[in-house]
Symmetry: C2
Subunit: 416 residues, 2 copies
């Protein structure tokens, strides 16, 4: 018959959410030449790298230009000093991890997309609703969900709805789940899971031998000391959770590309082929290592040098300044829009704000209205799942003047 395509691709939405937005913005710009756009949309960062990071990358490039200091392929899991520095960050929060439990990658998107591949296709997957589209799409493409119904939902997925009734914190899966995606601080809602709720998930996972994928890419934005920055702050989490994190937002690395994934040696799951029916300690860690050494060749050495510098005392000072800058944006958006009567969630321990669309209008219609009436680009909540319908995401990653201008434009021009 010939080479057949993977027809599971036909089951995902035709366009990736942010591609669709980019296309709409581009069309608006063509139709409205010269009009400035205020982007509170994709969550792309705007503030520069710290000088410590810049210098470290420049020095790394210089070393690669000298035969005496040139290096080729990097270490399999990432450079050891970088993994050690990451482990030390956990230690400072009371979490003991070893460098061999940390895998350096090229960003949390890649790892959160690929982590499902070391698990079987028969696992039942639970996702928050709304959720970062990558969690759903990668499971659809991998053949774990079947086709979507008319409402856009997949029968093969368990949705954990997040809304104002539960403070946008997912509740335990309604039926038995094997793989559970959690993101806290949450993209898109900006909600942070409490220690108690996260503890319930860890207990659930241990009881049901489920595995939690904990996306902590926005952990640096948590200022409330009572909120967990890592799932491993919860007792027992090392036996049931993989954590993903990133330099993208804490250090401005969205285009530079660096992240890491923690696969504890204690983590176990079901291995139908083994005599005991379960994996032995270290086996899941080894599976991810095999996956990464087969399908990946490491994050760029220049970038890893930048990341290492970003974890030094000076680099962390620059990171905290960056985080503070964006959180001041979040405050400006939250307080400014709240004055207009718009209902705003998030934005206190997360760089995202989650807005109820006024008058209950659907979120793509609100996207068009906001763009046309105020020239502000946001992200329609429906793009993150059915429970996101009627909501709208705003990001705090803009320039200060543009953020202020966007808030003023909404206040002045949005027909509420």
């Amino acid at each position: 018959m010939g080479a057949q395509i993977n027809t599971d691709y036909s089951k995902v939405q035709q366009n990736y959410l942010f591609s669709t937005i980019a296309k709409k913005v581009s069309e608006f710009q063509v139709a409205n030449p010269g009009k400035e756009i205020f982007r509170l949309g994709i969550g792309d960062t705007t503030q520069p790298l710290g000088q410590t990071v810049v210098k470290a990358m420049q020095d790394a490039a210089a070393r690669l230009g000298d035969v005496k200091t040139y290096t080729g392929y990097g270490a399999e899991q990432g450079n050891l000093p970088l993994r050690q520095a990451l482990a030390n960050q956990y230690t400072s929060r009371g979490v003991e991890l070893t460098a061999d439990e940390i895998f350096v990658g090229d960003g949390a998107k890649t790892d959160s997309a690929n982590i499902q591949s070391i698990f079987g296709l028969d696992n039942i997957v639970a996702v928050s609703d709304p959720a970062y589209p990558v969690y759903v799409d990668t499971n659809v493409i991998s053949g774990r969900t079947g086709s979507a119904g008319k409402d856009g939902r997949f029968d093969g997925l368990i949705y954990m709805p997040c809304n104002s009734d539960n403070n946008f914190m997912p509740e335990l899966p309604s039926r038995k789940a094997d793989l559970i995606y959690l993101c806290s601080p949450n993209n898109p809602t900006g909600a942070v899971m409490s220690r108690e709720r996260l503890g319930q998930f860890v207990d659930y996972a241990r009881e049901n031998k489920a595995v939690i994928f904990f996306d902590a890419a926005y952990a640096a934005f948590i200022s409330d000391p009572d909120l967990p920055k890592s799932i491993y702050e919860i007792d027992g989490a090392k036996e049931c959770a993989i954590e993903l994190n990133s330099f993208s937002k804490s250090h401005g690395f969205t285009g530079v590309r660096l992240g890491w994934t923690v696969v504890p040696q204690k983590l176990v799951a079901v291995d139908a082929l083994s005599e005991i029916g379960f994996t032995t300690p270290g086996q899941i860690n080894g599976l991810w290592k095999r996956r990464q050494t087969t399908f990946f060749n490491g994050a760029s050495n220049v970038v890893q040098a930048g990341g290492l510098a970003g974890l030094t005392e000076e680099g962390m000072k620059e990171s905290r300044e960056l985080v503070s800058f964006y959180m001041e944006n979040a405050r400006i958006i939250r307080e400014g829009l709240s004055q207009t009567g718009l209902k705003i969630y998030g934005g206190t321990d997360a760089p995202f704000l989650w807005m109820k669309t006024p008058g209950g209008v659907d979120s793509w219609s609100f996207f068009d209205r906001l763009l046309n009436e105020t020239r502000v680009v946001g992200t329609p909540g429906a793009g993150f799942g059915q429970a996101g319908e009627g909501y709208f995401r705003l990001s705090a990653f803009g320039h200060r003047d543009k953020t202020i201008a966007a808030v003023e434009s909404i206040k002045a021009n949005l027909k509420l």
Copy 2:
């Protein structure tokens, strides 16, 4: 039951080839402290980046450190000037490609590992034997091959043996293949496919609606003007072939990470869900775009800036010097070892040399002998497949003095 692991991982060899070698070398070093090792093994580069590339990466880092020139996420398929520069390189060889047919990635390993994922699991895969292990391993892990037999071969794969009888050039698959991996110049044999043989594969693919994955990562090492550097030099290849390439060896980017994949708009395959039964032009290109935008977030912007500089006139001059340096190593190895009576193939238009093990000893035993008797590390041919048994790969990517020392050590110490 709980979270189940992907049991297809149990079907691949336990250790990635180069991890096993690294372990053996490490053990030798512990047992023989202070003894220098000569590495002609993994194919890791040793010569520095060109200064044009270094400066471009340093400038890119500086731009990212300035709020006025900072940029976040890059363009979906890679920066347009880089894709345009790559397209121009093909034009100079008489191949017309557009920038939207080129996808910038973080290296040919990643792309050659992932390219299979946009095709269905029922496709029959053909690989050269010996072959780069990633082609086989990624298909095993994805569930396309079943388990290996006692001989290490997978019934689900078609092997195309390459040996001295066919000048190490694969012959057409013995039964109907849907997806065909070709690598030319070849890793590990150093053989380059002739225009005639490549033409036979293109004809075969068009007749059988098969798709060829053409790994051209070593194309820069071809000096013979009659040998094809791109499969698109063959008429009709755009309808049936995806080409993968890399900056790793031509520009010393093994640790820097940059590559690209060409998916022509004309490429078509079978789409069982479509009315016509085949994909429409552009559909495979769109599938790969969807794959990359869902599972990947682009190569590092700093690295892409380095790659773009590497394609300028000055950057290409540095690349040619780098290639010449390594090819002089290849000449030294080839001529030196030939004097001892060892039978050497490759190394004229490729940075790899393929040696018949003396006395027909198996290639892992020869690995141990070579390490213990001469302190030279190479790669056992059996690590690349059954037809590699009795052969041994040497790489020309070493330092000049170490390469000479390795050759001298083999000449002086190997008990032939």
